[in-house]
Symmetry: C2
């Protein structure tokens, strides 16, 4: 059944193998024809949370991508809504799909709504989300006390509060603008509580990467009559 190998780059330094692989496991459960190979970058225990931490991470992400390409992966997922180093990696990935979570999340949000609220961890929404959503981004909020992905685990109350505010602002859909939310199942909890769609960034990226993998390698077979 497995047909596609996706390399996953965690942009945070983690020791626990289960944690490193958690985002890859989400992709595998959603798309059984995907198997993942996950690695994380070094010396970045708080991950990426602003421009400076993104700049420091970029060359490490490119190096991680190089290692994954040497392992023969068919696609690369940089698990971060800022899409860090994605353009650089595309240059060395020779046509293989390379995505962060930002653009896929924005694209899926646009497919279902033109009134999107984004919940994030930075002072501003991740750039690829803001750029792709355009006027459909009607509100951005950061939960009180959260300024890095490592704050998410302890902040469920503030996260729910911020999500409720997005809904009051008029958001019909909430996009979670940090893949740290995926680690804690935040999207499932929020959409149960709020009653509106909440988009998980890792699932969004998995969907777009899966589409691109089958478009690039199986389209002829898929579109054959019969």
């Amino acid at each position: 059944m497995k047909r596609f190998r996706v390399g996953v780059i965690r942009v945070i330094t983690l020791e626990d193998r289960g944690l490193i692989e958690r985002h890859g496991r989400i992709m595998e459960k959603a798309y059984p024809d995907i198997e993942t190979l996950s690695i994380c970058i070094e010396d970045q225990p708080k991950g990426i949370f602003d421009e400076s931490s993104e700049k420091i991470a970029a060359p490490k992400i490119v190096e991680a991508g190089r290692r994954l390409l040497e392992e023969g992966v068919d696609a690369i997922f940089v698990s971060c809504a800022a899409d860090p180093a994605v353009e650089d990696l595309r240059r060395i990935a020779t046509g293989k799909p390379v995505f962060g979570a930002g653009k896929p999340l924005a694209a899926l949000a646009l497919a279902i709504s033109s009134r999107v609220g984004v919940l994030g961890i930075g002072e501003e929404p991740p750039r690829p989300l803001a750029a792709t959503l355009g006027d459909a981004l009607i509100s951005y909020r950061r939960p009180s006390g959260v300024s890095a992905t490592t704050d998410i685990a302890e902040s469920l109350g503030a996260i729910i509060e911020a999500a409720r505010r997005l809904r009051s602002d008029g958001a019909e859909v909430i996009a979670l603008g940090c893949t740290g939310f995926s680690t804690f199942g935040t999207a499932a909890r929020l959409q149960r509580l709020l009653g509106i769609p909440v988009l998980d960034p890792v699932l969004a990226a998995a969907s777009i990467i899966h589409h691109e993998l089958i478009r690039a390698s199986r389209l002829g077979e898929l579109l054959e009559a019969g």
Copy 2:
């Protein structure tokens, strides 16, 4: 393995069961956990190709959707890039995903490029594509001699020519703005010939509908640790 039943509405009157089911089969091959149930509307042998034919089709599409919902489908796909009657169907589908091909196609195009060319059958690009793509829609072309989905089968040369023009116009990705192109495997041929991504509208819709089905019904399980 099958978990989701998707109702497919063909907006053209067809007699041949294989033809009626062809778009559904593409969805099933791409997503083995989807099974489809396809029906077509009556008295519309040329399908939808302009505003007037869309208006005539709309109530028939709503009626077809009602029948599919009675059959217990989990989602509805209106196989047309104009997304006809999609908003009306959402009102009666009580939260189940309802999509045409237009918005999903635009969303997937935006996920991979900001320079999109659209190939279509009407005088103008389908409205949902134009609205969602915005400035990313850099060129629209209609193949010479093609003004309805029923012209596609006999127009391969003109289609290739129009696609080449879109690439010359600067398109980095081509989105096929009529699901009639899916019937003839056009996307696979064009991307082999042109060397740039060509997005198939039925595959795009399948991807978005699949994401929405798993987001709405399996998100808790997917995001659980372990």
